[in-house]
């Protein structure tokens, strides 16, 4: 071959090589199977995502272990592909030609799929890969999920294929390994998880905002969440005022949820509507879901106002 032809061929290859891309194969055949927390194998059609999480490498896995809020996890997730109905749909964001070529479950609980044409500009070779498995067709309708990774689960080099198998060591960041199963887990309730499920499939996602009141009952979503109410049904408040009578002072009572770690519920009082301070309360009743807190008007106070404040953190 003449040198010019060799050079031309090399130049042609060099020009196209940046867009040549690799692929990954996800398979559990012969390895550990995905199962729900009760050991029931995940059914065909459950949502499975492959990708990485855009988090600082040094803290990425610790953060993933500690974060239960779907909205946060989703905001960090850079998808490579996911098994959805009609597999083959382009799912690789910002990629020109990435496809989930094959996705099916050879037998219950097993997964096999190929994602090809992974652009190195989208996901650099060597980037750690994660498999995010749900127990339903959509995240919104799921009750459990698991996030798994392994040392060998890395984004491929250009033109190379990488197998993501479960025959070797697999690390469950959310969920657990039990016997020959990789089990999902029910995530703790957070505002984001609550809103995701309560407004699943609603085309107007503004209704899921913490400050929305889609049922018009005067209770914004954050209050509905804290008080375990239905944001689509007009509810009564879980706070009440017992007005002053001749022999007793006014008392303000409200419910404080048990088991919700991402929201605080406190009472504030004010003599003038301008300066508000936390009201000292005592627990006057309790049940499985709530403590009832009660605060009374200060002795001698003729003018007192109360309100309930809900404070939480939400994903941006």
């Amino acid at each position: 071959m003449r040198p010019t032809l060799i050079l031309a061929s090399w130049l042609a290859f060099a020009c196209v090589s940046p867009v040549l891309a690799g692929g990954v194969t996800l398979t559990t055949v012969g390895g550990k199977k995905f199962a729900k927390s009760n050991g029931q194998l995940v059914a065909e059609g459950c949502l499975i995502r492959v990708g990485t999480f855009d988090l600082p490498p040094a803290t990425r896995e610790a953060t993933l272990r500690d974060t239960a809020d779907y909205a946060k996890l989703k905001s960090w997730f850079r998808p490579l592909g996911e098994s959805i109905q009609g597999a083959g749909t382009k799912q690789q964001v910002a990629s020109v030609d990435a496809k989930m070529r094959v996705n099916h479950f050879p037998t219950e609980g097993e997964v096999f799929g190929v994602i090809s044409d992974i652009q190195t500009t989208y996901l650099p070779p060597g980037a750690p890969l994660y498999v995010w498995v749900f127990d339903a067709e959509t995240a919104e309708t799921s009750e459990e999920w698991g996030i798994f990774t392994a040392e060998s689960w890395l984004a491929p080099q250009s033109l190379a294929m990488r197998a993501l198998g479960t025959t070797g060591e697999v690390e469950p960041l959310q969920g657990q390994e039990q016997g020959e199963q990789l089990r999902l887990a029910a995530p703790p309730l957070t505002y984001g998880n609550w809103a995701m499920r309560r407004f699943a499939g609603d085309p107007d996602q503004a209704k899921a905002e913490f400050n929305a009141d889609p049922d018009g009952d005067g209770l914004h979503n954050l209050a509905e969440y804290a008080w375990r109410l239905d944001p689509k049904v007009r509810d009564q408040s879980l706070a009440n005022l017992a007005p002053p009578v001749a022999s007793s002072r006014a008392a303000f009572s409200f419910k404080v949820p048990k088991g919700l770690t991402d929201v605080t519920v406190v009472a504030e009082s004010s003599p003038d509507l301008r300066v508000w301070s936390a009201a000292a309360t005592e627990i006057t009743a309790t049940d499985d879901q709530f403590d009832t807190h009660t605060t009374t008007a200060p002795a001698g106070a003729t003018t007192v106002f109360w309100r309930v404040r809900f404070v939480s953190t939400v994903a941006p």
């Binding site: 855009d54 988090l55 600082p56 803290t59 990425r60 610790a62 953060t63 974060t67 946060k72 905001s75 960090w76 913490f210 400050n211 009141d213 049922d215 018009g216 009952d217 005067g218 209770l219 914004h220 954050l222 209050a223 049904v233 007009r234 009564q236 408040s237 706070a239 009440n240 005022l241 017992a242 007005p243 002053p244 009578v245 006014a250 303000f252 009572s253 409200f254 504030e268 004010s270 003599p271 003038d272 509507l273 301008r274 300066v275 508000w276 003729t302 003018t303 007192v304 106002f305 109360w306 309100r307 309930v308 404040r309 809900f310 404070v311 939480s312 953190t313 939400v314 994903a315 941006p316």
Partner: protein
């Protein structure tokens, strides 16, 4: 124990000065920024008014709970011209609002209590035509029960049964008085009819006649909610309109704080402040277009007015005016 519904208001702490000051609101978690958000319920409470012996003019500084808030999907006119305001799946029953009003939050009638004449599964029929109240689809309405005599003074409040009275202006030039029936524990008319559910409109003044001085506590009934939005009142021409701000604070306020100055026709409409006891006129004030002025032409915006007191407003042309809301810190 009576339960009062709470409405929540919200704030994005990361975006408010108060929020920044009161909470460590933003923190980093694994490279992501979370936002601390807060919602507060509606405010409930109580306050006293010092009613002297004799006659004095007052107003309820509190309202009943918001029972619905939503945007209208359509506004049409019924066969009699009254507005039919329809909401999408509001979730109420057809007979739920017998003593209630709908308050538009925007438009030319924003803040005005418009009586609900009837209710169907998703539609309110209001006592106004769409044109006169400027009602249209997309407007947000809040529904509340009217304050009633039993709702503001559920046990008579300390007034002497069959002797002390509460009087309301019921129409141009007409007035009705009500008494507490100590035995049946109800409010009654002069003819003995049940008057527990007599409506007191937002901002409507009431005259209390008491044989001796008494402290009444407002907020003992279902009217125990603070209303922090402007209130629009209708004023009739050529008669005395008794109105007052929905201000439950226990301190003296001012004429200017009523917020009526800008709505008065300059050098024509007037505000009359009444002396508690004899209910005589203690002062008459006009607007010069910018401020309220006294008979000497001096700025009278700062004229003291007992909190909870109502005033007489005289206008030449029927109109609606807006009472300023009480200020509430977030």
């Amino acid at each position: 124990m009576k339960t009062y519904q709470q409405r929540t208001t919200v704030s994005l702490f990361a975006r408010t000065r108060v929020g920044w000051a009161s909470l460590a609101v933003v923190f980093c978690l694994g490279g992501s920024t979370d936002i601390s958000v807060a919602a507060t319920s509606n405010i409930v409470g109580h306050y006293p008014i010092q009613v002297p012996a004799g006659n004095s003019a007052w107003v309820s500084g509190l309202v009943c709970a918001d029972v619905f808030e939503g945007a209208a999907v359509s506004v049409t006119a019924d066969t009699d011209g009254k507005a039919l305001v329809t909401f999408e799946s509001p979730g109420w029953t057809g007979t739920q609002f017998p003593l209630h009003y709908a308050e538009p939050q925007t438009g030319s009638a924003s803040g005005l209590a418009i009586d609900i004449l009837s209710t169907s599964a998703s539609t309110l029929k209001l006592d106004a035509t769409p044109a006169e109240a400027g009602l249209s689809a997309g407007m947000v309405f809040i529904v509340r029960k009217h304050v009633t005599l039993a709702g503001i003074l559920p046990t008579g409040g300390g007034l002497i049964p069959f002797s002390d009275s509460v009087s309301l202006i019921t129409g141009p030039g007409t007035q009705a008085s009500y008494f507490y029936h100590g035995t049946s524990q109800k409010w009654i008319t002069a003819q003995g009819a049940d008057a527990n559910n007599v409506k007191i409109r937002p901002g409507q003044g009431l005259i209390i006649q008491a044989g001796s001085a008494v402290t009444l506590v407002i907020g003992r009934g279902d009217a125990c909610y603070v209303k922090a939005t402007p209130t629009r009142v209708r004023l009739s021409a050529g008669v005395s309109n008794l109105v007052g701000a929905l201000n439950p604070l226990g301190s003296t306020t001012t004429l200017g704080a009523l917020g009526l100055g800008s709505g008065l026709q300059p050098f024509n409409d007037s505000i009359v402040v009444l002396n508690p006891g004899p209910l005589s006129q203690s002062g008459t004030y006009l607007s010069n277009g910018a401020n309220l002025i006294n008979s000497g032409g001096q700025n009278a915006n700062g004229t003291a007015l007992p909190t909870g007191a109502s005033v007489v407003v005289n206008v030449d042309t029927a109109k609606s005016m807006v009472l300023a809301p009480v200020q509430v810190a977030p």
